[in-house]
Amino acid sequence: MEQTTTQNEVQFSDAAMAEIRRYISHYPADRKKSAILPILHIAQAEFGGWVSPEVQDKVAEILDIQPIEVYEVATFYTMFNLKPVGKHVLEVCRTGPCMLRGADHLIEHLESRLGCHVGENSADGLFTLKTVECLAACGMGPMLQIREKYYENLDPQKMDQLLDDLSKE
C-alpha cells in the first residue's frame, strides 16, 4: 500500500512498522542507528520511491537519532532518491566497462527519447533517469536496472521496446 507524505504527518503502514521493528531488533538497544539502511529502503518503498526530508525526519525519530544523521546517510547512497521519482526509475550503469560497450550512447538516447536529463523525470512523469556505478553485470553491458530487475546487452532498439512495454503497464 502506498502512503502519502504531508508536511507534518508521516505514517508508516502497520506492516512496514513491523518490518522496521524486526530490523531494529537485530541490534543492541543503544545502537538502533545500525538499522538505518534497511529502514530507509522500507521508507522509500513505502512513500512513492523517494525519501523526502519529512520521511527522513520520521526515520530519525524512529531510530532515536538526529535528523542530520539520517540525511548524511540518505544523501550518500545513490540508491536513495531525494526528489519525487517517476513510476519507473531507470538506473543506467555508467562505469568504465559499460561505457566501453556504449552506455554513453544509451544515455544520450534515453535523454532524447524521454526529453529529460540524467537526474530528472520524463515530462509524463512516468520515468526517472539516473546513472549509477557498476552493478556487477559488466559482461552484459550496457545495462540498466529497474527496481530489482536487470536489463542487459541493451541498444537503442531494445531500449525503445522496453520503454514502450513499460509505458503500457
Binding site: 538526529q66 535528523p67 542530520i68 544523521e69 540525511y71 548524511e72 544523501t75 550518500f76 547512497y77 545513490t78
Partner: protein, 911 residues
C-alpha cells in the same frame, strides 16, 4: 630515538610518531591536508605521499602516505624522489579541479593552506577545462561564512567539529564529486568552538564573518601576541588591527594552555574594542565641554586629589600592572579589590587550595591527558569553555589504552576511533543544572551547591578516611560516590575540576579534599579550579581589602575620594550600596574603556586602553602569568590604565610612581615588593630585549600602503610610533627570524602563510614552542604527603516556604561583561529568565514564559520563567551577568512575591 634516512641523510627522530610529523619536525616541507596535529591522520587526501625504500639497494621504492606510516628505525624515505613529487603534483591538481580559483576575492587568501600547498607541490598551471561543480552556501549564524565551492574534501571540518569538539549539527552529505559539508539546513552552528573551523579548514569554505565586516588581508594586519580576556583560562591569541580598528582574533599556539584552538567567545568577543560606546577622551563632567585633553584632565585631578583622602578599587579584568599601580598610588591600606564579596572569598580559597597542594594545578594540556575526571559545580562549556574541550579529549584516555594494546598508534585516528567506538573513560559531573558535557559523562548529578559539596565530601571520605564522614546521604548518592571514588582511585592521572561558579565554598573544599585524598595514593592527581575573570587570581594574589570596606570608608568619612579601575561596580555589588557609595564620595574617578553605570556617576572619566591598546600581564586560573601586548598605537589620550596612574602619581609627586616610566619599571617594583611575583619578570622579555640589535616587528614584510593609508593627513611618511614598553615595533622593520615564544606577533614562515606555519615554531609537532611555551607558573603546590582536610561538611539543602534559593547559571554568550558588547555574541545570548523546575512552577501556578516576581537583596525583580527540571526543587537558576538580569550576590534566598502584584510598566527592577 630512531634513525631515519630522508633522501639519504640520517636523522634522529622520536619513535611513535608518523613520518609526516617527523619530516615537519625536522623542518622539511611536505604538503598535507587531511592530517592535523591535534586530530591525527586518516590518510584521505593523498597529498603527503613520499617514497620508502626497502634498503639501500632498493632504487624503485614504493609510494606511501607519510601521515599513515609510523617512524621505524632505519626506514629510508625520499621526499624529493621524482615519482613522489609527480604524484603530489597530480593529487593537488585533482583536488583543485573544482576549486573556483577565486583567491582574489577569498577571505582566506594570503593565509591559506591550500595556496601554500599548491605552490609547494608545484601545481602551477591549470589544465582542467570543464565545468566545475557548484553548491549553494548556507547561513551559519553570526560567526562564520560558508563558501562550499572552495572545498577540497579533506574532511577536517567534520573531524574537528564532530569528533574533536562534540558538535552535532555539521556533517558531510552526498558522495563523489558532489560531497557537501554543512548543516542539514540553514541555521546557527551551535557548537561553542565553531570558529576554529576558520583555521581548521585549509581553504576558504569556513571564514570569520566578523572579519568580513572590516576585511583585511593577514599581511596587512598589525598584529600582537595577546591573551584572551573573556574567562580565567587565559588562552593565547593573536590580535590584528588596521586603520585603527581591531579586525581579527586568531588562536596563538601555546602548547601548555590552549594548543591550536580557542572558543567562540574568545574569537568573536573582541568587537567591544571597536564599539561606538568607547570612551576615547578624558571627561570632566563639570567642565564645558566635558571632553578635555590629557593635560586638562591631569590638572583637574591634581587639583582635586592633591588633598584628598583617597581609596582605590581594583579590577579582576584589569592587568596586574594596572592593579599594582593603583595599589601603590593609594597605599596598601586603601586598596580594595573590586569584586563581589562572595567571589573574593571563593577566589581566596581557590588560591589557598592551589598553594597548599598537594595536588598539582594542571594546565589545559595536562587536563587532556587525565584519565578520570570529576567535575564539581561547574558548567565548563559556559564558564571556562576551552577546559570543556580539554575534558572532551581526556575521556579518550582510558579507551586509548586499548588502541595501544592493539599496536595501533594513537594518531591513526580512523582506526583508533573505530576500535574505541563510543567508549568513554570515566567522567563524573555534579552540577547545578544539566551541562553540555553530560552527554559524554559516565554519571551525572544535578543538585544544589550543598548537595554537590556533600557528594564531593563523600567521595573524599571513600578515598581516604582522613577526610570527614558525610552522614544522611541518600542511597543514590552513596552509590554514585562509591562509583566515583572507585574510578578515581584506579586511575593513573585522576583530575578534580571545580571552581567559583556555583558560588559555594563548600564545593571548593570538597574538591580540595578529594584531590588531597587522591594524592595520598596517586601521586599524579591533579586539580583545576576556575575563577570568575581573566585576572581574578592575579588580583587575589596581589591582595587588598573588601569592596564593602571601601563603602564603609567613604560612609564613615575615613576616605573622601575614590579611583575606580576598569570596573563597573554595579556588576559586583548591590545597587543601593553602590548608589550610596558613589553619592557620598566627594570625587569619583573612573578609568575604563566603555561607558557603563559606574562611569555615568563619575565626575572624571579617563579613557583606558583595552587589551588591544595596552600592555599588561594576567594570571590565569592555573597561576600562569602571561603578557599581552598592545596591538596598535593609539592617540595619546587613550592609554593603559597603569600609564594614567603613573601620570597621576607623577603629578601628585608620589614617591614611588613618579619614578616609573614604563611597564618594566612596574613589574620590577612588583617583583621586588612581593615574593609571589618574583617570577613575573620571566613571563616575557624586557623592553630592551633585542635580537641582532633589532626589535620584533608587529607587521609582516608584505605590509602594504603604510604611507598611502595616511595620505589624507600627510603625503610624507610619518615617523614610526615608538613603543617604549616592549621589544616590539609598530612597523614592518625589525628582526625577521623567530622571536622568543611569548613575543610572537603572528606565525609565518617562507612558503607557510597560513596558521599551519606554527609547525616551524615547535620543538616537535604538537609539542612545546621553541624554548618553552609562553607564560610562567607563579603557583606550585607544596610537595607534601600530608593533606590537611577541610572538615566542614554542609547540611543538605532544604527548601523554604515562600522562598527560592537563587543559584547562578552561566552562558558562554552573555555572562561575560565585555564580550556581550560584541554584536555577534549578543545575537547568541539568551533573553533574561529565571529557571525553576516544573514542580515549583506548578505550585506557583506559573507556566513557561510567565513572569515570576521575587525580592532578592532588597530588589524586586520580575523575570520570565523558564522551566528546567534539572534545577533542584526549591532553588532557582539566575543567569549571571546577563544583560537584563540585575546583579545579586549569589547564591542567596529570594522571597517569592504574591504573583498578583500589579505593575505599571513591566520594569525589571524596582528598588
Amino acid at each position: 630515538m630512531a634513525t631515519i634516512y630522508i633522501d639519504n641523510v640520517p636523522y634522529e627522530v622520536k619513535p611513535g610518531k608518523n613520518l609526516l610529523e617527523a619530516c615537519l619536525t625536522l623542518g622539511i616541507n611536505l604538503p598535507y591536508f587531511c592530517w592535523h596535529p591535534a586530530m591525527g591522520s586518516v590518510g584521505a587526501c593523498r597529498q603527503c605521499a613520499v617514497k620508502v625504500f626497502k634498503d639501500e639497494a632498493d632504487t624503485k621504492g614504493r609510494l606511501i602516505m607519510s601521515c599513515m606510516e609510523p617512524v621505524r628505525d632505519n626506514i629510508r624515505l625520499s621526499v624529493d624522489e621524482p615519482e613522489a613529487k609527480e604524484f603530489r603534483e597530480h593529487v593537488i591538481e585533482w583536488l583543485m579541479t573544482n576549486h573556483p580559483h577565486d583567491c582574489a576575492v577569498c577571505d582566506e587568501g594570503g593565509a591559506c593552506h591550500l595556496q601554500d600547498m599548491t605552490v609547494m607541490s608545484g601545481h602551477n598551471y591549470r589544465r582542467y577545462e570543464y565545468k566545475k561543480r557548484t553548491y549553494q552556501n548556507q547561513y551559519l549564524g553570526p560567526f562564520l561564512n560558508h563558501e562550499m565551492n572552495r572545498c577540497i574534501q579533506c574532511y577536517r571540518c567534520v573531524r574537528f567539529y564532530k569528533d574533536y569538539a562534540g558538535g552535532h549539527d555539521l556533517d558531510v552529505f552526498a558522495a563523489h564529486n558532489h560531497v557537501y559539508f554543512g548543516r542539514h539546513e540553514n541555521g546557527v552552528l551551535e557548537n561553542e568552538f565553531s570558529g576554529n573551523l576558520a583555521e581548521v579548514c585549509p581553504t576558504g569554505v569556513f571564514t570569520d564573518k566578523t572579519l568580513k565586516q572590516h576585511y583585511t588581508r593577514k599581511w596587512d594586519l598589525t598584529m600582537a601576541p595577546s591573551v584572551c580576556q573573556h574567562c580565567s583560562l587565559g588562552c593565547n591569541i593573536s590580535a590584528g588591527e588596521r586603520y585603527g580598528s581591531l579586525r581579527q582574533i586568531t588562536s596563538r599556539y601555546n602548547g601548555e594552555v590552549n594548543g591550536y584552538f580557542i572558543c567562540d567567545r574568545g574569537r568573536f568577543g573582541y568587537e567591544f574594542v571597536n564599539s561606538p560606546a568607547r570612551i576615547r577622551k578624558a571627561l570632566v563632567r563639570t567642565h564645558l565641554p566635558e571632553a578635555v585633553t590629557k593635560e586638562v584632565a591631569l590638572q583637574e585631578i591634581w587639583g582635586e586629589l592633591r588633598q584628598a583622602r583617597l581609596i582605590g578599587i581594583g579590577s579582576p579584568r584589569a592587568s596586574l600592572e594596572s592593579n599594582f599601580a593603583l595599589k601603590a598610588l593609594v597605599g596598601e591600606n586603601n586598596f580594595h579589590l573590586g569584586v563581589d564579596e562572595n567571589d573574593q572569598d571563593l577566589v581566596d580559597l581557590s588560591l589557598k587550595i592551589l598553594r597548599k597542594g598537594p595536588a598539582r594545578n594542571f594546565s589545559l594540556r595536562e587536563v587532556e591527558t587525565a584519565d578520570a575526571v570529576f567535575i564539581l559545580g561547574e558548567d565548563l562549556t559556559n564558564t571556562a569553555p576551552m577546559l570543556a574541550l580539554a575534558v572532551r579529549q581526556s575521556v579518550r584516555q582510558q579507551p586509548l589504552a586499548q588502541v595501544a594494546q592493539a599496536s595501533i598508534p594513537f594518531w591513526q585516528d580512523a582506526a583508533a576511533r573505530e576500535l574505541v567506538q563510543d567508549k568513554k573513560g570515566p567522567l563524573f559531573i555534579a552540577s547545578i543544572t544539566a551541562t553540555k558535557l553530560d552527554e559524554i559523562a559516565t554519571a551525572t548529578a544535578h543538585a544544589s551547591p550543598d548537595a554537590i559539596a556533600r557528594l564531593g565530601f563523600a567521595v573524599a571520605n571513600l578515598i581516604s578516611e582522613n577526610s570527614p564522614v558525610v552522614t544522611h546521604l541518600s542511597e543514590a548518592e552513596e552509590t554514585m560516590a562509591q562509583q566515583i571514588a572507585d574510578a578515581l582511585k584506579t586511575a593513573k592521572k585522576p583530575l578534580i575540576i571545580s571552581g567559583c561558579a556555583s558560588g559555594s565554598e563548600a564545593v571548593l573544599k570538597a574538591a580540595a579534599n578529594i584531590a588531597g585524598a587522591l594524592c595520598e595514593q596517586v601521586k599524579t592527581a591533579g586539580i583545576v579550579l576556575t575563577v570568575p575573570e581573566c585576572n581574578s587570581l592575579g588580583l587575589a594574589m596581589l591582595g587588598g581589602h573588601r569592596l564593602e570596606s571601601a563603602f564603609e570608608a567613604i560612609q564613615n568619612g575615613y576616605a573622601d575620594s575614590v579611583i575606580i579601575l576598569e570596573n563597573n561596580l554595579y556588576r559586583c555589588a548591590n545597587k543601593t550600596a553602590v548608589d550610596s557609595f558613589l553619592g557620598h564620595a566627594k570625587e569619583v574617578l573612573v578609568l575604563d574603556h566603555l561607558h557603563h553605570a559606574t562611569t555615568e556617576k563619575a565626575r572624571i572619566v579617563l579613557p583606558a586602553g583595552t587589551f588591544a591598546e595596552a600592555d599588561g600581564t594576567l594570571v590565569n586560573n592555573e597561576g600562569r602569568a602571561q603578557r599581552f601586548y598592545q596591538v596598535y598605537p593609539t592617540p595619546e589620550d587613550l592609554q593603559e590604565s597603569w600609564r594614567w596612574l603613573i601620570n597621576i602619581g607623577t603629578s601628585l609627586r608620589h614617591p614611588v610612581l613618579s619614578n616609573w616610566k614604563n611597564l618594566d619599571d612596574i613589574n620590577q617594583a612588583l617583583a621586588e615588593a612581593d615574593n609571589q611575583f618574583k617570577g613575573i619578570l620571566a613571563a616575557a622579555p624586557p623592553a630592551e630585549f633585542r635580537i641582532a640589535g633589532q626589535k620584533i616587528p608587529r607587521e609582516s614584510h608584505r605590509f602594504s600602503g603604510r604611507t598611502a593609508m595616511n595620505a589624507h593627513h600627510a603625503v610624507s611618511e610619518p615617523k614610526p610610533p615608538e613603543d617604549p614598553d616592549t621589544p616590539l615595533t609598530f612597523t614592518m622593520e625589525g628582526y625577521r627570524g623567530e622571536p622568543p615564544s611569548s613575543i610572537i606577533p603572528f606565525f609565518w614562515s617562507p612558503g607557510w602563510n597560513s596558521i599551519q606555519s606554527v609547525n616551524k615554531y615547535q620543538e616537535e609537532i604538537g609539542g612545546h614552542l621553541h624554548h618553552g611555551d609562553p607564560g610562567i607558573r607563579l603557583i606550585e603546590p607544596v610537595q607534601t604527603n600530608l593533606t590537611h582536610y577541610f572538615s566542614e561538611v554542609p547540611e543538605d539543602f532544604a527548601p523554604l516556604q515562600n522562598h527560592l534559593f537563587m543559584v547562578p547559571l552561566y552562558h558562554i554568550f552573555g555572562s561575560e561583561e565585555q564580550s556581550i558588547l560584541a554584536p555577534g555574541i549578543a545575537q547568541r545570548a539568551p533573553e533574561p529568565y529565571v529557571a525553576i523546575c516544573e514542580a515549583d512552577a506548578h505550585a506557583l501556578q506559573l507556566k513557561e514564559g510567565n513572569n515570576l516576581d521575587f525580592s532578592l537583596e532588597h530588589q524586586i525583580i520580575r523575570l520570565p520563567v523558564k522551566i528546567n527540571n534539572d534545577i533542584t526543587k526549591g532553588t532557582a537558576g539566575l543567569p549571571k551577568g546577563l544583560p537584563g538580569v540585575p546583579y545579586a550576590e549569589l547564591p542567596a534566598w529570594a522571597i517569592i512575591l504574591k504573583q498578583e502584584t500589579t505593575w505599571k510598566h513591566q520594569p525589571q527592577i524596582i528598588s
